[in-house]
Subunit: 456 residues, 2 copies
């Protein structure tokens, strides 16, 4: 690996500059105004693969395009599929960014920009890891397939049909995804479980227009009052979700896993400081890590009704809306949850109010066996690059596509997050540690070698 | 009155044009961007009084200016104080207006503009009523004082100190206010009761920034979840407000008043059509009119949290805010309610959440004795202009200043609303019926004559 190590050392500035180039492209998948940025980012990624000799295709979908690339084929070695995404979350609220979300800026060893860690920076570690092999050794030690999508942040609506319709083409021995966080600084981790998600938009409509709250208040159901009541009815004061059957498929935590989670070097005080709260809370009877990783949750992500401007406006609003999601754990079925929610909401909606429920996206949770040889290969690569063995963790977030890969390709998924919990993913001032960026590239180079030796 | 009637007939077009002039001035008191409009409207009103020979003053306050004007003094006749306001509610949401909020437009006998009925149009009926006397008879039959403020829609923060500090100057036999609605089309009313109000802004702050709802959800209290729960805890499912002591000072409705309210020609079906709902609801055990006029209410006027844009954003928001108010009935003390609310919210606020409560404005409810000679004079004036005797009604809205006049000047208040319930007060497409505008002017002319004969 020494020639590769020298190559990586010599390429640091260029790797960073290439990442900045991609970060300058505002590829926000949720906002139609950024359609141009999406196309530009897809083209940039495709060109990047073409330059290192991969057979590359930009594949149109009903939404944003997929970029698919294959390394020059090598016989008799494993095939690995790398998944990533070139789209990013909306950057709003813009006034909270210290430097522009699409003007990558270095501060204190970090690179700040929307998408720095989620997922442009992490995704590129594997592109550069492949480049290093090709430049130093003339070829990769295994076959690589890259599938880089542009709709991850809107729930990958077109990826699942693509994967299910292209099993042959995507066939591989394992999937590698870097789209998450380490356990902490200098605490790399292999994530063996993800939560699922079911995300909804609910809108209540009452009177045909905003009414004067004095003249009309008391005579008619206020949609904002009704929304608060309905949203509150979904969860009890102990953090238990009250949708009938919600916990039916939740497998109880084993004593062994509880002990393993409890042994992780998790510093609750530091965590509170990191996110800026004076107390932690959540479902009664579970530790903080359990509540983050292995228990389902219910969080409102947006509330909107009536007058939100300065001062007082005495209206009884015509409508009220909320965005909310459930994080699901493995074995919970999002469709079953969605049906039960819809039926519960119908029962909760008061007379005089019209309720519309829109389901944005959903995905089941995932769990990977810890005794897999691919996990062992990943652990060796991580230890080589980071200088310490990885921790085995779960993750509270959802990568909707992971369960699809798991199910459609029948292989293990290696979740190797190079980010940090305080990277401000989905928030203003998203960042990626440049040290982690380069260690990620180094781990990726070693990963190709380790995985090339695994025989299923 | 015949010369005055002819004068009114000949002046119709000019009266309307003057109203349009004032409506074109965007005097939104809640929005600092409209400070220029406020000043312009105050000047317009002052100039209007100067033109008809009133001693006029624009009085600076800590907020928006007051316009005060006195007719040339006449000895040995009563003095009447007319109160109105030149400020208007915010016009948002702008996209729901058929014609611009500050571009007065006639459609179907109505004049559409923000402030058409609330209160520019109604306030001017008394200005024109005074003008007609001066032009036709050379002088008014009584002394008139006009106090026109620019902060009614933000709770009149500077008016109460002014009234309390100027009792001598404002001394009068009764106060006349036209800032409300008739019972229905061709059903003029004298309003003998108003609800009070206590309006609040609550903001909950949790984590220092928006968090990824997957990575962090479950570990920390979500301010939007907490807000929904707190807002819901303030009222039970039967519409009873749960603040301790809230109903202590609510005087139970007498059988006589219940019977009188029940006898009013109120068409529930038509009311539902008017506001565009399929069902009415509210506090259990009371009729619709009782719930609108003589029972307290709790209405959320605004909700704001997290991501409200297109698509899904999986955030656990850093903060959540609501605007809400209680409509109070006579004998409830807003300060007592405010203290009880503050104490209840402190108990409801979960660990890890910081709660800020801002009180926007408040006013107690008011009730006027129906056997007052001033009420009889007003009834005669209304019958003369509208061709039928007035109904005696109460009103669900609040005119914060009414209780101050009542208390500080010790006189009866005549609430003579010329508007209609479907005037879209505080909503897009506010309007004022031009027929009501002119009947209001006619009633005002006669009112000066009727009131001039009352001896206290």
């Amino acid at each position: 690996m020494s020639s590769i190590e020298s190559y990586l050392e010599a390429s640091r500035a260029r790797f960073e500059e290439e990442l900045c180039e991609l970060l300058r492209i505002p590829s926000v998948s949720a906002q139609p105004a950024h359609r141009g940025g999406i196309q530009q980012a897809a083209d940039w990624v495709a060109q990047r693969f073409v330059r290192q000799g991969f057979a590359t295709e930009v594949i149109a979908t009903a939404g944003h395009p997929l970029v698919y690339a294959e390394s020059p084929p090598v016989e008799g070695v494993p095939t690995v599929l790398v998944y990533g995404h070139y789209d990013v979350q909306p950057a709003e609220p813009l006034d909270l960014w210290i430097s522009g979300p699409f003007e990558p800026t270095r501060r204190n060893g970090n690179l700040f920009a929307r998408g720095a860690t989620d997922d442009k920076g992490q995704m590129l570690t594997h592109v550069f890891g492949a480049e290093a092999w090709i430049e130093c050794k003339g070829r990769l030690p295994l076959n690589l397939k890259f599938l880089i999508e542009g709709e991850e942040e809107i729930g990958s609506p077109n990826l699942e049909p693509f994967i299910r319709g292209n099993r042959q083409r995507l066939a591989c021995d394992c999937v590698v995804i870097s789209d998450g966080a380490q356990f902490g600084p200098d605490q790399p981790a292999i994530t063996y479980g993800l939560r699922g998600i079911a995300y909804f938009d609910v809108r209540l409509t009452g009177p045909a227009r905003d009414l004067h709250s004095g003249s009309f208040g008391g005579s008619v159901m206020n949609p904002a009052n009704a929304l608060a009541r309905i949203l509150t009815a979904l969860i009890d004061e102990h953090g238990k979700i009250r949708i009938p059957g919600f916990y039916d498929d939740v497998v109880p935590l084993s004593d062994q896993e509880r002990a393993q989670l409890a042994a992780l070097p998790f510093d609750q005080q530091q965590y509170m400081q990191q996110i800026g709260v004076t107390a932690l809370s959540g479902e009664t009877g579970f530790t903080t890590l359990e509540r983050r990783w292995v228990r389902p949750t219910y969080d409102i992500s947006g509330l909107s009704s009536g007058y939100q401007g300065e001062g007082a406006k005495t209206v009884l609003p015509s409508s009220a809306a909320a965005k909310f999601s459930f994080r699901l754990v493995p074995d919970q079925d999002p469709e079953k949850i969605s049906r039960a929610l819809r039926s519960m909401l119908a029962g909760l909606c008061p007379a005089g109010i019209q309720l519309e429920l829109e389901e944005h996206h959903s995905a089941p949770g995932v769990r990977i066996p810890l005794d897999s040889p691919f996990v062992a290969a990943a652990a060796a690569a991580v230890e080589y690059a980071f200088g310490c063995p990885p921790l085995y963790t779960r993750e509270g977030g959802s990568i909707p596509v992971v369960s699809t890969f798991h199910d459609a390709l029948g292989v293990d998924i290696l979740l190797l997050g190079w980010g940090q919990d305080d990277d401000n993913t989905h928030s203003p001032n998203e960042k990626f540690s440049l040290a982690d960026f380069h260690r990620g590239i180094k781990a990726s180079c070693r990963l190709w070698e380790e995985l090339s030796r695994v025989r299923r």
